[in-house]
Symmetry: C3
């Protein structure tokens, strides 16, 4: 058991969509030489989130986009909060329906994801952003 | 590294709505003098939940209430489970769509939330309740 | 404080539905003699998930099934991803709306669940599967 290790990384997005960050996480685990333990991810934003998702067929993620667009449409006149545009409130809704805090087991030096499981940052705003992710490693 | 610390606090609600508990959590971190580590929150209920949400403009949270009321309306005749009233089943649906277990990194003695990010307890029942929250701190 | 303990268990499902795994988790806590600490669960799949849910009245879970069927219907022609059948894309949607990673406090040798709170594996596919769950214990 070593002391807990914390690291903040920035993920740059080009606007709404899912970004596979599995390799970024795996690199941090390797740099810190963690063989078994836990990896905690925390995204410091309220208009972007984290999901575990199928990483093989990209249409899964486009269907997820469409699903969110159906249940929380951009520019819906029912929203009171629209200061930053038609995608402002939908971004908050999408965030609370998914996650900002995830923990993944580390086994034999690897994030122990399932065969088809990737870690994705989901940008919910139309414009690109730099998103801050805090990674905490424990063994 | 100190042994893990656990503490249970009660949060009193006045009925459906979001309650900012960020200060309560920060106080527990300070009382326990944790400089860096992880803070885990666990809410022992199935009709109230935890979210990270924008803390600047309160209309975000009223829009979230409306969103939930649209997708899981109170008193919908499709529900079989309505023993405790029209808000009974919607409260369970809202809970499973959000979180009961959250982990937040602690950096320099603070819950490392984003600039606009608060921790909210979301009461989903119409009437007020006393909600039990278990806080576990690790460094 | 002992070193972290990790164990993988298989949960066999008979198709879509919720499976109470609270006893399985409690057994692993007892086998490992953890008195106080944290129990982390990670489900290595993208078409099944974990929820905390009311464990007293089974109609809660059938109402949750119906809710998901309403917001993400099987066989909806809007889905592009349908390789594995009409329940393929709905299973991914249901998964991202719920959880794959949960942490539960352990107090006095027990998973400190609320009175009516159970831990359920939610199988989202029509057919039965063997689902891999990684349990990590810390004290």
């Amino acid at each position: 058991m070593q002391p807990m290790k914390q690291q903040m990384i920035n993920i740059e997005t080009n606007g709404r969509g899912t970004y596979d960050i599995s390799d970024n996480i795996q690199s941090v685990i390797e740099e810190n030489k963690i063989d078994s333990g836990l990896c905690h991810l925390f995204l410091q934003h309220t208009s972007a989130s984290l999901i575990f998702c199928e990483n093989a067929d990209a249409t899964v993620r486009s269907d997820l986009e469409d699903f969110m667009a159906r249940i929380a449409p951009d520019g819906d006149p029912v929203y009171r909060h629209d200061m930053e545009g038609p995608d402002d409130m939908p971004a908050h809704i999408r965030t609370i329906l998914t996650q900002n805090s995830l923990t993944i087991p580390i086994i034999h030096g690897k994030a122990a994801l399932g065969t088809w499981q990737g870690i994705f940052l989901w940008e919910h705003r139309s414009m690109g952003h730099i998103r801050k992710l805090t990674i905490t490693l424990q063994d």
